[in-house]
């Protein structure tokens, strides 16, 4: 404790007393973050805010996605092999990776297979002493069906781990890039368990990542120092601070005043003036998401393909995207973002055509249209900044073809609940990709397996056969072909009106170099430099 105090005092004293030369020695990067982390254990978390503060800064995974890429690369596993039946994965672990030394833990050994086993077992094994600690909600692990997918995790030797699956799954390596598969220290966990304070594992983290947590003041700031022994090489900044600032305008003001160096999620309305500011740099990248309007295909008249197609033609997509996304969204054709492999460029979207839409409706037996509900979510989401405005625009468009739309909304949790139960006719929702595999989109949103709770409640055999097969085959070229075909069927069958992929915008001060926007919306400050 004392040591940190002196360190902090020294830092404070130095930055104050001298202006240029000393500052060059101690570089502090301030990131204006949008909220407080829920926990410092990514296994328990769901929000990007928490992952930024925990898994990205503090931890590593066996395999990782980094920078602006979506493909997996080796992390704590230097390499891996897959058995011929696709059931057994053998990971060869990196040697000489040091755990962080913090005020309440000094490691006696480097990272090894025990740590991997501990991290998986905590989530998998209900009898594990850590399983129920801190609420025990491993949401992502459950989302990817971890309890049923992973049969066993075994230690072969100190630096080899064997994971056996219950069924072949081509997405497994991508799944392992999820933040929830971060590797925690087994030695630290044991020590805490003996001390009777296991929950501190989740609040006072010890990782292998580029930054070491110094202190977290709730709703205020998170401080890190660089990990000098980081296995990829020490970070180029000495101190990393997350200044928690919920309000986007205030974040912008702090950027202008130089109180922050990087910020995310700006107000769309302020982006123009940010671009004009010489001290700031505006980075933009197409987001890894999709906003959609799903038709409840179990209900009449949306069980008729022609009705769904008609609505696809009746809605003026260009206008909706322009008005709602204010320049930070691109109209969507396919259910997956263009940055994801297997995106089918040759699929043609429906053209806005009121007359054609009317004809189709007439052919389906609704020459005078019909009445239906359109649901809009009460919250801003990354893929849809203003669902209400969007719903109103859609209502006006659909009135032109005789469809009388009633707008419906509920409190967010209730909204999701009712959508899952299929109470809607048409519903606005979307998805942000978790990992770089098309199955993350297709499987969760459009498969027969998910039809009981997905917004479209769509189960179309020819489509489903393709995506089920694509998940089992391990050859990526083959998988790409299957997904491309699936996208053609999707467009023809039109269970959704695909709206847009939003564009992620992040701002840095112009003296920040090496910062890359992540397609997954995470914020990684390793490799960032302050000039």
């Amino acid at each position: 404790m004392k040591r940190y105090l002196w360190q902090a005092l020294a830092v404070a004293g130095l930055t104050l007393s001298a202006i240029a030369p000393v500052q060059a020695q101690n570089k502090t990067l301030v990131y204006c973050s949008e909220g407080s982390p829920e926990t410092f254990n990514p296994q328990l978390a769901t929000s990007g805010t928490t992952f930024d503060a925990s898994s990205i800064a503090i931890y590593n995974r066996l395999v990782e996605v980094r920078g602006s890429k979506t493909e997996a690369e080796p992390g704590l596993a230097q390499s891996w092999t897959v058995s011929d039946d696709g059931l057994t994965y053998t990971f060869y672990l990196r040697r000489g990776v040091q755990w962080h030394t913090t005020r309440n833990f000094t490691p006696t050994r480097p990272f090894n297979a025990d740590d991997v086993l501990f991290s998986f077992k905590r989530m998998m094994d209900e009898k594990h002493p850590y399983h129920k600690v801190s609420g025990g909600n491993y949401i992502y692990f459950n989302e990817v069906d971890g309890p049923n997918l992973i049969k066993s995790v075994e230690k072969v030797d100190d630096y080899t781990v064997k994971i056996t699956l219950t069924k072949p799954d081509a997405t497994f390596i991508s799944i392992l890039t999820l933040h929830s598969f971060s590797i925690l220290s087994a030695e630290y966990a044991d020590k805490l368990l003996k001390a009777g304070t296991p929950e501190r594992l989740d609040t006072d983290p010890v990782g292998t990542g580029p930054f070491v947590l110094v202190n977290y003041q709730k709703d205020s700031a998170i401080r890190y120092t660089k990990n000098d022994k980081y296995w990829r090489g020490a970070a180029k900044i000495d101190t990393l601070v997350f200044a928690i600032t919920k309000d986007a305008s205030i974040r912008y003001q702090k950027m202008r005043a130089g109180e922050c160096h990087v910020m995310a999620y700006p107000n769309p309305a302020e982006i123009e003036s940010m671009k004009a500011d010489k001290n700031l740099r505006v980075l933009q990248q197409e987001g890894f998401n999709i906003g959609y309007l799903a038709f409840n295909t179990e209900k009449k008249p949306f069980n008729d393909k022609r009705v769904r197609q008609a609505i696809n033609m009746a809605l003026n997509k260009a206008n909706i995207v322009k008005a709602v996304y204010l320049g930070s969204g691109t109209p969507a054709t396919n259910p997956i973002p263009p940055t994801l492999w297997s995106y089918n460029k040759s699929v043609k979207d429906y053209q806005y055509n009121v007359n054609k839409a009317k004809e189709l409706l007439a052919a389906a037996g609704y020459p005078n249209g019909f009445e239906a509900t359109l649901w809009w979510m009460p919250v801003q989401r990354p893929y849809n900044p203003n669902a209400k405005a969007m719903a109103e625009l859609m209502q006006a468009d659909l009135a032109k073809v005789g469809i009388k739309v009633r707008l419906v909304s509920y409190e967010w949790g209730e909204y999701l609940d009712r959508l899952r139960k299929g109470e809607h006719d048409m519903g606005l929702l979307g998805w942000t990709g978790d990992y770089g595999d098309p199955d993350n989109f297709f499987g969760n949103l459009l498969s027969c397996a998910a039809a009981g709770s997905s917004t479209a409640r769509w189960c179309h055999k020819p489509f489903d056969d393709l995506i089920v097969k694509a998940r089992q085959v391990s050859n990526q070229a083959e998988r790409t072909k299957l997904y491309e075909q699936a996208q053609v069927i999707f467009k023809e069958e039109a269970p959704w009106f695909t709206i847009a992929h939003s564009i992620a915008t992040e701002i840095t001060r112009s003296n920040v170099t090496g910062y890359q926007i992540s397609p997954f919306g995470s914020h990684d400050f390793y490799g960032v430099e302050l000039k």
């Binding site: 309000d247 986007a248 305008s249 912008y252 003001q253 107000n267 309305a269 302020e270 003036s273 209400k388 405005a389 409190e411």
Partner: protein, 301 residues
């Protein structure tokens, strides 16, 4: 406070001479007069909102986003106070906002007056455990700051302007209940009350006809002051996203929406706030004047 009401006024129900005396007292206070005329002006604006507002407050002019007021460069004559981020005319929205704010004030004051006074009358008249229960209920409501209590109530009822008004009414109930109860307790053993009781007046009659008029002066003052606090609280709730929902032209909600534009377009933040300030100030000025005029013991100026 009510216990200190002058003996003289308590025997008379308002008669013209009292009113004349009241007006003389009231109009001596220049501030109160200013407040009074401001309120009259606001009421006129509110009633004639449809005529005065140049446009529909919810209409979005395409392409006319964030225009500044007429005296600033880059403005349009069509929009005297400019437009907001989705191209709605700010002047029209402010005018309709005035109507909404007065309605909010009126409904909140009416609701809380009716229920608060009833509770106070019942508590004071019956005493005993009825009194105890009612007053503890009031204690509970007052155990939280009004804004927090309103937030909690709205969270239960779902976010909307109606629910915001209900919530605010509940938070101000205790003021009325306490005032009325205190007045009733101080009056209930006086000769004139006992006289009418002996004459065979029923409980309801006693409460409403005999006792209530004597509690009026402090209640009127309280009503005026809670008019302003209701407007302020509704705006605060709107600002936090728990009041009127967009696109309703409510001043607090407008402010909350405009907050993102504070750097480039400060006027859309400045104007709704100014409206709230002026309205609240007007009611506070008048409330002060009323207090001085109605309650000689509490005379402050």
């Amino acid at each position: 406070m009510a216990a200190e009401i002058d003996q003289k006024t308590s025997h008379q129900v308002i008669v013209p001479s009292v009113f004349a005396e009241f007006w003389r007292n009231f109009s001596r206070n220049k501030g109160a007069l200013v407040g009074f005329f401001l309120i009259v002006a606001l009421i006129i604006v509110a009633i004639l909102a449809d005529l005065l507002a140049p446009y529909d407050p919810a209409y979005q002019f395409e392409g006319r986003f964030l225009l500044p007021p007429a005296w600033v460069e880059g403005s349009m004559v069509d929009h005297f106070l400019g437009t907001d981020n989705v191209g709605r005319d700010i002047l029209s929205r402010l005018i309709h906002g005035a109507r909404l704010s007065l309605i909010i004030g009126l409904i909140v004051v009416t609701l809380s007056l009716i229920f608060g006074v009833s509770l106070g009358l019942i508590a004071g008249y019956f005493g005993g455990w009825v009194d105890f229960m009612i007053m503890r209920l009031m204690d509970i409501i007052q155990a939280l700051p009004s804004l927090l209590m309103a937030l909690v109530i709205i969270a239960i009822l779902e976010k909307s302007l109606t629910n915001a008004m209900i919530a605010i009414s509940i938070t101000v109930l205790p003021h009325y209940a306490r005032l009325t109860r205190a007045a009733v307790i101080s009056e209930i053993n006086k000769e004139y009350v006992i006289a009418s009781r002996v004459a065979g007046a029923g409980s309801l009659r006693l409460m409403l006809i005999t006792l209530l008029p004597n509690c009026l002066p402090p209640l009127i003052v309280q009503a005026t002051l809670s008019f302003s606090s209701a407007i302020l609280d509704a705006a605060a709730l709107g600002f936090l996203g728990y009041g009127a929902q967009p696109p309703t032209a409510e001043w607090g909600t407008m402010l909350s929406e405009a907050r993102s534009f504070i750097t480039q377009h400060p006027w859309i933040v400045t104007l709704p706030g100014l409206c709230i300030l002026i309205t609240v100030l007007a009611f506070n000025l008048m409330g002060d004047g009323l207090r001085d005029a109605l309650d000689p013991k509490l005379k402050r100026t």
